[in-house]
Subunit: 248 residues, 2 copies
């Protein structure tokens, strides 16, 4: 839902938005949609989504709380625009080159997605709130479509196959980002925090052997190692699955 107050909120900025910003940047010290978006990203990176507010943003821009509203209708609209902007930061391989292996290009796209999601942990939270259909994110989507088509998966199965890859990456990065945020909040390293969590779980009455084995294996390596290993293995799993289903 867009604003919790609005009677009938717009379902997405992109459904009514003019292509051009309200005002073009003219280089002087004034406000600008571009400047607003940049400041928003900076704040979200530094302080997280929970602490972000329109008032905080205005302060960062050295301006009164309501100035931003001349460029943007609501906070939700701003965040939707920011979401699309950050999607545009992904580097997309040249999908027109038919000599490239589709699997390699799919891996590249997945890794690029992961890089974006884990260097801006708030993006996963925005993806759970706003439709990701802005112009810049569509460029990425188009590249994904072009690559998966070269796999030989039949047209009707393409969206299913893509969702196996990218919904997985999204879910994985959500969990990753959340865990890192918790470690920061607790002021502990990832490994310290994990150990504490495991100790707490181990004390429970219904603690099970099946969990113990996994926990011990996990503690024999660093969180970072485990995460990278899991991600790489899972990604290969999905790609192998796409091939297997295609050949069925």
């Amino acid at each position: 839902m867009a604003s919790s107050r609005a009677e009938s909120p717009r379902a997405s900025v992109w459904l009514s938005r003019k292509a051009v910003p309200k005002r073009k940047g003219d280089g002087d010290g004034g406000l600008d949609l571009e400047r607003i978006v940049a400041a928003t990203v900076r704040l979200l990176d530094a302080e997280g989504l929970a602490k972000f507010s329109m008032r905080r943003l205005a302060a960062e821009l050295g301006v009164t709380a309501m100035s931003v509203y001349w460029y943007v209708d609501t906070k939700d609209d701003l965040l939707e625009i920011v979401l699309d902007g950050i999607n545009g930061s992904m580097v997309v391989p040249d999908v027109s080159r038919e000599d490239e292996d589709w699997r390699d290009q799919l891996r590249l796209l997945a890794l690029e997605y992961r890089k974006m999601l884990s260097s801006h942990t708030w993006v996963t939270q925005l993806l759970g709130r706003y439709l990701n259909i802005g112009p810049r994110s569509m460029a990425y989507t188009n590249a994904c479509l072009a690559v998966i088509r070269r796999s030989g998966v039949e047209e009707a199965r393409i969206t299913g196959a893509l969702s196996a890859v990218f919904q997985f990456v999204y879910g994985f990065c959500t969990a990753e980002g959340l865990f890192k945020e918790r470690c920061n909040a607790a002021g502990l390293s990832e490994d310290e925090y994990f150990k504490q969590l495991m100790a707490e779980v181990a004390e429970r009455e219904d603690y099970e052997e099946s969990f113990k084995d996994a926990a011990e294996l996990a503690e024999s390596q660093s969180r970072e190692e485990q995460r990278e290993g899991d991600f790489a293995y899972a990604l290969e799993t999905v790609i192998a699955g796409i091939e297997a289903m295609r050949d069925r």
Copy 2:
């Protein structure tokens, strides 16, 4: 982050929580953690996470805003408890039966997860905010571990394989829930809303052929059909991938 105000927030309720609630329900009309959790679920189902507030909850319980705080330290703690409670609503297959096909049981677990996530759309949002390590969700996790072990995937790869399945389901249901919420907010059916979205995208300068094909295919069926088809295909893709990786 737990509360945006607290200096050093607890990283998770479960790290310090007593096993028993502050007060046991005694059947009379008084407040109760159980009653509070039930009312919270009811409100979240009916009005969504964005509209949920401690004051709204108190009103629903016919009580003053601050009464709830006797049972629960913060709003975040309450939501983390609610998250675990709803996880406990999943039915878990009997994983001790070695004669059952692990693939069937894994499918059951994935479908159960999906059922929970798509009948309570706010759960995906909570999963992006709180660690899901309460006692009731651990029962589900243990079942998943037991089932995947029977696949023959080597122990070190088990967490990776599981994350391919369940992070996918999580991501998929997040997108599904978000889309449904948008349709409701716009007061349109899923198919009407989708059509409107596609029309808007088609007008863009950078509209690409690769997207057109997928969009046309999508419009030839209902959202519901497409979604079920995609989910089923993607789930089979991941399971096929687990087998392929195991046999490599």
